[in-house]
Amino acid sequence: MSDPEFEWIDGDRPQLMLRGDWAVATIGGIDGQLRKFAETHSDKGLATVNVEALTKLDTAGAFIIDRTLRALSEGEPGLTGANDEVADLLAQAREIATREEHAPPVDEPGHGFVDLLERTGRGAEHMWDEALETLSFFGGTLAAVSDIVIRPAQMRWTALVSVMEEAGLDAVPIIAFLSFFVGMVVAFIGATALAEFGASIFVVEMVGIGVLRELGGVLVAIIIAGRTNSAFTAQIGAMKMRQEVDAMQTLGLDAMHVIVAPRVIAMVIMLPVLTFVGMLAGLAGGVVVGWLALDINPTVFFNRLQEYVPISQFWIGMSKAPVFGLAIALIGCRQGLEVGGSVQSLGEHTTKSVVQAIFAIIVIDALFALLYMELDI
């Protein structure tokens, strides 16, 4: 392999000598020199190009030679010492470089103050649209679900059961495990704080109310948002990318019925079940800490729990679960259906889906807290 070289030979008929390998692997080093050379010699009236000593040429080499020639002279300079292949490659490069283009006009995004205002406006409008679309998606889902309730024959039972298993049953171990530990942590914190007042026994109320009213439901919903939401979005998004959703629609299958409704129904059924599991595990965590660290006998614990923690706390916690399930499934499915053609958009929407779901869970929980406070429960 020899490096490419060029030489300008002045005279009546100025000549450009080219030597060496002009190929993609070798031209990297000479590109800068050649550009400068083309600028300084553009008015010298190049007459011929001598390629006798050219040892190798490929389309990249032809491109860079042709680019230089176009800069050096307006017409086509004579070519000496070229064999057929070299002449063909150079002719092809010239043809390609001078081919007319019909590019559509491109709007360059600006960076001024007005553009900033414009982008802000668009962003605000986009947020409003997003909220509207989520609402309309919610409406569409409700329509599909009520349609199924009226005519149960339309229900995809297999899909429903399979989602219930994947997103519900399979999540039981992780939910029980994490809830158990959170219950333990609450009991420990309570024990240290309450021991100062000599009121360790109140740990029962603390664990009971904390786990039943708030932690059980919210913890389960957040775990499911991370675990199942991403799965929903990725599954549906991949179907969208491979045009499976389009194929469904052309076959007369409504995506709302086939994809969204089973997932929504499954989640609305399964989240209360999982929440119940989470609550039991959380209480068990409290019992274990009470027994081992605080000398509160399990019998004492449960007696006190029955006496001082009203059953309404349990129902408050359970009442939130189906709403969380609905929000999680809706957001997961909607983001999945929003996925465009690229892998990047799949990743973006999966992230969005999990973030929006967790956001929704916290906001819904706060709204419930306000509601029950007003109701004095």
Binding site: A23, I27, T59, A60, D88, I96, A97, S342
Partner: protein
């Protein structure tokens, strides 16, 4: 003197589980020729391509590309061999998170030492060469039509002017005029650069216009190899049906 062999496949056996795709398959592709590979759907044309470039590990047999055993290579040596070939996959396989221009620049960035500006110019040149307009370079693959993606994939395969080009169904799904342009482009490049082309296709017109020789796959091996005229005289029923069918006859008339 026998011509130099670019790809030599000997006793190849590939299998997916219990399903044997090829058994005892031999094939030679000479340097500087366009070898067309045809065969019924599902006979393993694409699998053969994958086996040659080292994407599918065969159960038995050996594959030599330019005299090196593909199976025995890894790391640096494999990368050196990779510089020698460009592959265009059936559905393009463009990287969807890169623009079309960046897609074409990937092999250049990886294997050649070029200034960024020149790389961009060369990418535009390759795009134009494969029949796209340079402004499509700033689009993402998902914004392009199927035919445009194919051309972009060809541009990426040719980015380094590799001496060996693998094309998997390059003209499938293209309109006849575009397909003809594609055929001519392959032929022109092959002539001016002395490329070796391994071309998997179903398109009889492509075979007639571009291929020097044609290999027919079937029954887990190569049934016949030869020029189009030689294959026409081959008694094998599938080959007779292939070239004797309405499409085959039309292409023969067009080429003759």
């Amino acid at each position: 003197m026998s011509p130099e062999i670019a790809i030599r496949v000997r006793g190849l056996k590939t299998a997916y589980g219990n399903h044997v795709v090829h058994e005892n398959l031999d094939l030679d592709v000479r340097a500087g020729e366009v070898m067309g590979v045809i065969g019924p759907s599902g006979c393993g044309k694409s699998v053969l391509l994958r086996a040659i470039v080292g994407l599918k590990k065969p159960s038995e047999g050996e594959v030599d590309v330019f005299g090196t055993d593909v199976m025995s290579l890894f790391g640096e040596d494999y990368a050196t061999l990779q510089k020698l070939w460009g592959i265009m996959f059936q559905d393009g396989a463009l990287f969807s998170n890169l623009t079309v221009q960046e897609n074409v620049m990937v092999p250049m960035k990886e294997h050649a030492d070029l200034p960024l500006k020149l790389m961009k110019e060369l990418a535009d040149q390759k795009l134009k060469m494969s029949g796209l307009e340079a402004w499509t370079g700033c689009k993402y693959p998902s914004d392009l039509s199927g035919g445009m993606r194919k051309r972009a994939a060809l541009a990426r395969a040719m980015a380094l002017d590799p001496p060996l080009l693998f094309l998997d169904e390059p003209t499938a799904g293209l309109d006849p005029i575009t397909a003809t342009g594609f055929d001519q482009l392959i032929r022109e490049l092959q002539k001016s650069l002395g490329l070796t082309v391994f071309l998997v296709t179903h398109d009889v017109d492509t075979l007639a216009v571009t291929c020097d020789r044609i290999a027919v796959l079937g029954e887990q091996k190569v049934i016949a190899v030869g020029t189009m005229d030689e294959l026409r005289r081959e008694p094998h029923p599938w080959i007779q049906d292939y070239f004797g069918g309405p499409r085959g006859r039309g292409a023969a008339m067009g080429a003759g």
